[in-house]
């Protein structure tokens, strides 16, 4: 076993470093973290601009097969890209289009669909949002109720989706819909995508607890989606969606991003005095920093091991490792934000303002952490998966 990068991998990492270091000089102040893509028109614009530049370099589609504009990049290289991007807390990669929908199309799409749908994603020209969650469904994704019924070349879609992050900016949405009215649970579901501005689609904002516009609810009233926009066979959407869930969930982003935040926190405690001493001299603060650094380091090693497992095609173990990285990574970011805001004392409660240490980013992260622990399968769902798939403990129905 050898964790050391090869010369080529090292060179590749440096190329990523050079790119992001240079580009992030232009970043608006609000950049950093998933939610920050959506913080303002300005940050969304920066996200799209950077996405196009990444598209020109071919870096959005590196893991895809060569036939569709990719370069079959091994997952370890993709891991390096994600690590460096997270380190710079750089936007530019559409997490829904690039990391979820494109792989879904690669697996379940027809040749025609691949040629139509993939190039704009690879070039960073279109951005997606994800229509999975519904009211009252929560993490129980199989309880989808929104319907799509066939009428000639079209499906007529009715229903509601919720917690749709970024729907207010996205160009397209991909959906899991019930195509068989008599079906239950995970049977009779199908995958679709459509433009977000079709007649009958209404997007209404939901404010996050920090007052920011991150997610939305979306209403579909007799929306006509062409049959050509159904991915995979009708009624077989559940299997395809489960595969989508497993793409690239090594979670390196949680850890590399956390490291950058920790570096900022270290600067803060060194430069902030209380009781005539730097905070960095406070043993309790020092202990918190050490434990956070430790947990980040372990997370990075875990995510490399997980990526390697995917690379080797060990599917069951890869699912477990992905769930581990998800739960460990999101909860680590929660601990980081909690520790940071606690070290700031009274200032730790300040939202973005001139008074707020670290630009108020930590109180934002403190609030966003709750959402991150729920999104993409709550921590409890991840723990269930680890127990069932990883430890093969009995599953009671």
């Amino acid at each position: 076993m050898d964790f050391k990068l090869t010369e080529e991998q090292r060179a590749l990492k440096l190329a990523f470093e050079d790119f992001f270091r240079e580009e992030m000089k232009q970043a608006p102040e609000t950049t950093g973290g998933l939610e920050a893509l959506l913080a303002s028109e300005e940050s969304w614009k920066f996200h799209r601009t950077l996405g196009k530049k990444l598209g020109e370099k071919g870096w959005l589609s590196r893991p895809w097969p060569k036939a569709y504009g990719g370069c079959d990049a091994p997952i370890v290289e993709q891991q390096l890209f994600n690590e460096v991007r997270a380190k710079y807390r750089a936007p530019g990669v559409d997490p829904w289009g690039v990391e979820m929908f494109a792989p879904t199309v690669l697996i379940g799409g027809t040749e025609e669909q691949k040629k139509r749908i993939l190039p704009p994603i690879a070039k960073g020209e279109v951005h997606y949002c994800q229509g999975w969650s519904e009211p009252n469904a929560g993490s129980d994704l199989a309880s989808v109720r929104a319907t799509a019924f066939k009428a000639g070349d079209y499906y007529i879609v009715n229903g509601q989706k919720i917690w749709t992050t970024g729907a207010h900016f996205a160009d397209h949405i991909f959906l899991l819909l019930r195509t068989d009215s008599s079906s239950r649970r995970n049977a009779g579901l199908s995958v679709f995508y459509c433009q977000k501005d079709l007649p009958g689609i209404e997007v209404r904002p939901i404010q996050y607890m920090n007052g920011k516009h991150v997610y939305n609810e979306i209403f579909f009233t007799d929306v006509k989606i062409p049959e050509a926009n159904r991915i995979g066979q009708e009624g077989e959407g559940w299997g395809l969606t489960r595969e989508t869930m497993n793409f690239e969930r090594s979670g390196i982003g949680y850890f590399a991003g956390a490291k950058t935040v920790l570096a900022e926190l270290v600067r803060y405690v060194k430069n902030t005095e209380r009781d005539g001493k730097a905070l960095s001299e406070n043993p309790l603060v020092r202990q918190r920093l050490a434990k956070l650094y430790r947990d980040i380091e372990l997370g990075i090693a875990l995510s490399y091991m997980g990526a390697w497992t995917q690379h080797k095609g060990n599917a069951m173990r890869a699912v477990t490792m992905a769930s581990m990285a998800k739960v460990y990574g999101t909860e680590l970011n929660q601990r980081l934000a909690t520790a940071a805001t606690e070290a700031m004392g009274l200032y730790g409660q300040l939202e973005q303002s001139d008074w707020a240490p670290m630009g108020g980013s930590m109180i934002d992260a403190f609030q966003m952490a709750i959402g991150m622990n729920i999104a993409a399968g709550s921590s409890e769902i991840q723990r269930n998966l680890i127990a069932w798939v990883g430890l093969m403990l009995p599953r009671t129905k």
Binding site: K4, Q287, Y293, A301, M305, W308, N384, L393, T396
Partner: protein, 377 residues
């Protein structure tokens, strides 16, 4: 990057695992623990014959020149089997100390004997204050003619009761110095301390113990530097044993949770149990992944001192959490001396105190962090 073990590494792990399972099942582990010697004298030469002791040492001194990774794998398997032996004190602590600081002659002589199983050694470092720092060394070594006279008390000296030779850390004229002392030399009194890990921790009293001036390991006054060279590797080796212990505890608990029924269902089907076990598995996988990252760094000759501290701190906490939960999930039987799972719980506590405890390592990490780590600027 290649995160698969090599065929050689896999074969080695399998052979170690097979040996330990066959030769020392948990029942025998408990018998050995209770015995005065605390190890299996019949298995020790067999281990030597299998080449375990010289595995990661240079060929020039009779070793096999293998990567440190092999020792890490061995320690992991030893931890999984809760196998009691003087391997850590003799080969890791003393072997690495001799390699780091001994003269050529001492290396050839002592390491050769360690590798062939004829020499058991113990490191006498800690004293009554139980400090991991150089300030904790108070014992004096006073020169008298061509002799050195040792007076003082060493505590928590692992395997001193069965050792042939001790490496004694004492303050001499030029500073902290390492002395090679026959374990049965006149003036030495050794008694076992009743530690939770039952790992032959001893109190060793030195009363006017006279040794030759020549019995200095390496250079006089350089003792602490040598120990500092040994410590990170020994820390990683101890952490590897803890990683293996976590795996052993989880395996036993998974098996138990599938078999044991309550309210008509296996307890492993209840979410309360499943979520705890998921947390245990997660703690283990993070520690395991990081262990092999650090082992890779050692073999690539990179500076891994901060990483060794990160690893030990993590394993102290992970082993505590995993073994405590494992006992709890076993219910009443998990608290009985006869239960195998308790072996892991007791070791987790004992090992957390060895080669620096959690606070000691957290402090080292914090210092490095505040001084500025390369990837954190």
């Amino acid at each position: 990057m290649d995160l698969d073990f090599t065929t050689e590494q896999n074969t080695f792990r399998e052979s170690v695992s097979r040996f330990l399972t066959n030769e020392c099942p948990f029942d025998k582990v408990r018998q050995l623990e209770e015995s005065a010697q605390g190890y299996a004298p019949d298995l020790w030469p067999k281990m030597a014959d299998l080449g375990w002791f010289g595995m990661s040492f240079p060929e020039a001194y009779g070793g096999f020149g293998g990567e440190f990774m092999f020792t890490v794998i061995l320690q992991e398997e030893i931890g999984r089997a809760c196998f009691p032996s003087p391997f850590f004190s003799t080969v890791i602590q003393c072997g690495l100390t001799i390699l780091a600081g001994g003269t050529e002659e001492q290396k050839k002589d002592l390491l050769g004997k360690i590798f062939d199983g004829s020499l058991i050694m113990a490191l006498a470092q800690y004293e009554e204050e139980a400090s991991y720092l150089p300030t904790g060394i108070r014992m004096r070594a006073v020169a008298q003619g061509d002799r050195v006279v040792l007076n003082g008390t060493k505590m928590f000296v692992m395997d001193a009761n069965i050792a042939h030779k001790l490496i004694v850390v004492a303050r001499a004229d030029p500073g902290i110095t390492l002395f090679l002392v026959e374990a049965k030399a006149p003036g030495i009194t050794c008694s076992k301390m009743p530690t939770i890990g039952m790992d032959n921790c001893c109190r060793v009293i030195f009363e006017d113990v006279r040794i030759s001036q020549k019995e200095v390991l390496g250079q006089p006054g350089k003792g602490w530097e040598v120990l500092e060279k040994m410590a990170p590797k020994a820390t990683v080796a101890k952490a590897a044993e803890m990683v293996g212990g976590c795996k052993g505890a989880i395996d036993l608990t998974v098996r138990y949770a599938k078999e044991r029924e309550q309210y008509g269902k296996p307890i492993g089907s209840y979410q309360a149990i499943q979520h705890f076990m998921a947390n245990m598995a997660l703690a283990y996988e993070t520690g395991w992944s990081y262990l092999y990252k650090v082992a890779s760094m050692i073999d690539a000759d990179e500076d891994f001192s901060v990483e060794a501290s990160v690893l030990k701190s993590a394993m102290d906490e992970n082993a505590k959490f995993i073994s405590e939960r494992a006992c709890h999930i076993h219910g009443g039987i998990g608290t009985a001396r006869e239960a195998d799972i308790g072996l892991f719980f007791r070791r987790a506590k004992a090992f957390s105190t060895l080669m620096g405890d959690t606070d000691y390592h957290d402090n080292k990490v914090a210092e490095a962090l505040l001084k500025g780590l390369p990837d954190l600027t």
